[in-house]
């Protein structure tokens, strides 16, 4: 009983995941859906073990671009948010522009980036950054601004400089909102990377997106499903990593 209580969350997560895999496996076997439409998880895993190195190299390449894109998005996003909060002109120009740009389907810009930046990782990273940066800017700006007027008055009476207000008051206040933005951004960075790889493909042999594209052409769905899984795993891990840092 004590074991259950201390590990309740882990047990629930593991059993839900395992349970859905079992259901899927059973469903795929019992029904007569052809394997090329929906392969069972066991088939996917078997396929994975046929060429583990290939999948690992492809996944790592994608992961690298995703993390670079995410990192840049956080850095740029926080800087932009600070500028927006500190200057009315920046707020009226930049913020308005960002919100307007956010309504564009940025995925559609991916081919442009490939034309501008080539088919290497810069274009893919750029797609990842453009998609991931919005939630970071918007949530961080919101967090930095959510200071009660009386707290600002208190800081003014203490004769705090703008930098001190930013560092000691605004920034710590904004952290929860920033992490909320980052949780959304990490999965968007992966989406951006995969889209970049779909479009740029060719040049770089190692990327999950290209493998997706290629295997889709070859109708090898079992490979696609592996790719989807590695992406889902990265998505699932990101918030935990963020939460772990946050609760430190």
């Amino acid at each position: 009983m004590a074991f259950w209580r201390t590990n309740e969350r882990a047990i629930t997560v593991v059993s839900v995941l395992a349970g859905s895999l079992v259901l899927w496996e059973l469903g795929a076997r019992i029904s007569h859906v052809p394997q090329f439409l929906l392969p069972a998880p066991s088939v996917v895993i078997a396929d994975l073990f046929k060429a583990p190195g290939l999948y690992a190299i492809n996944s790592l390449a994608t992961l690298r671009v995703t993390l670079t894109g995410f990192g840049l998005a956080v850095l740029l996003g926080v800087l932009l948010a600070v500028a927006i909060v500190h200057s009315r002109i920046m707020e009226h120009s930049l913020y308005t522009l960002l919100v307007a740009l956010n309504s564009l389907p940025k995925v559609a810009l991916a081919p442009l980036f490939v034309i501008w930046l080539g088919t290497g990782s810069p274009s893919k990273t750029t797609v990842a950054v453009t998609i991931a940066i919005f939630p970071i800017v918007i949530d961080t700006a919101l967090g930095l601004r959510s200071i009660e007027p009386d707290v600002m008055n208190m800081a003014k009476v203490m004769r705090a400089s703008r930098w001190q207000i930013l560092r000691r008051i605004r920034f710590p206040h904004a952290l929860p909102a920033m992490f909320a933005g980052m949780k959304v951004a990490i999965s968007l960075a992966l989406v951006g990377t995969i889209v970049g790889e779909f479009v740029a493909g060719g040049d770089l042999r190692h990327c999950a997106g290209l493998r997706l594209h290629h295997t889709a052409r070859c109708a090898r769905y079992s490979s696609i499903l592996y790719n989807r899984f590695s992406r889902a795993a990265a998505d699932a891990l990101a918030p935990f990593a963020a939460a772990a840092r946050h609760s430190r």
């Binding site: 008055n153 208190m154 003014k156 009476v157 203490m158 004769r159 705090a160 000691r168």
Partner: protein, 267 residues
């Protein structure tokens, strides 16, 4: 207008202060021709209905707002911005949840670039004196409302201001904590010989804590009256606020002030 008895420079002085500000509904006159003079070490309460400009008055003294006309003087010098000599205590404690009690108490000192070792020592001594000695490493959320407000007092006094502005610092507390804490804080401020300006709409709080109560009229706020509060204490010393509430004079003052505020409701 009761001028301070001594010829010394007043600690805080407002001379013919007007304050107007512009909002969506046009111009609002918040304060009109306000002149107040407060002697060093005096404990003054300012009462009035909500929206009469009481808090605005504190913003002017603290230098975060500038008057439209007139002058605000601190130690005889015009106020041009926030001063090291002024400390502010607000209705909410605004302790930062990510800092320990001790680190919260030294916030002001930290911002002013003071010697942090000394500031920590001072804050720890203040907190210990206020009965929070064993909570120095605790986080604000582990403390009750009254304890948190005492931390806020320590934060205010840690920078050693001469003038302490109190903007309804007890309003968010339950009534018992409120009585106990107002008693404690009044005693502390008197012992440390601070000039204190308390803004409140609680007449009992004003009469029991302050030696002078100024009534502001409805907007635009003007000084309506100025009452010296005296209790026949032992050897001319002032009773503590709790004792003051039980003294013979308390009800007289209370009723006089009550009537002044009542007039405003009708007029």
């Amino acid at each position: 207008m009761a001028a301070p008895a001594s010829a010394a420079t007043p600690k805080v002085e407002l001379r013919n202060v007007n304050l107007r500000y512009f909002g969506l509904e046009g111009e609002t006159e918040a304060l009109k021709d306000v002149s107040i003079s407060i002697a060093p070490g005096e404990f003054v309460a300012i009462i009035g209905q909500s929206g009469c400009g009481k808090s605005t008055l504190l913003s002017l003294i603290s230098g975060i707002l500038m008057p439209t006309d007139g002058t605000v003087l601190l130690d005889g010098k015009p106020v041009t911005g926030p001063s090291r000599k002024v400390g502010y205590m607000l209705q909410q404690d605004y302790l930062f949840e990510w800092r320990t009690i001790l680190e919260n108490a030294v916030l002001g000192a930290e911002i002013q670039g003071a010697d942090m070792a000394k500031a920590r020592e001072r804050a720890a001594a203040l907190l210990t004196r206020y009965g929070l000695g064993q909570f120095l490493r605790h986080l604000p959320r582990q403390l009750s409302g009254g304890m948190r407000q005492r931390v806020a007092l320590a934060r205010t006094l840690c920078t050693e201001p001469d003038v302490v502005l109190l903007d309804e610092p007890f309003a968010a507390l339950d009534s018992q904590t409120r009585l106990a804490l107002s008693d404690e804080i009044a005693v502390i401020l008197r012992r440390e010989k601070k000039t204190a300006i308390l803004v409140t709409h609680d007449i009992g709080e004003a009469v029991s804590m302050a030696e002078r109560v100024i009534v502001l009229s409805r907007r635009p706020g003007r000084v309506k009256s100025d009452h010296a509060i005296r209790f026949a204490g032992a050897h001319g010393t002032r009773p503590t606020p709790l004792a003051a509430r039980n003294s013979a004079e308390f009800n007289g003052y209370f009723n006089a002030l009550w009537q002044e505020l009542e007039v405003h409701v009708e007029g």
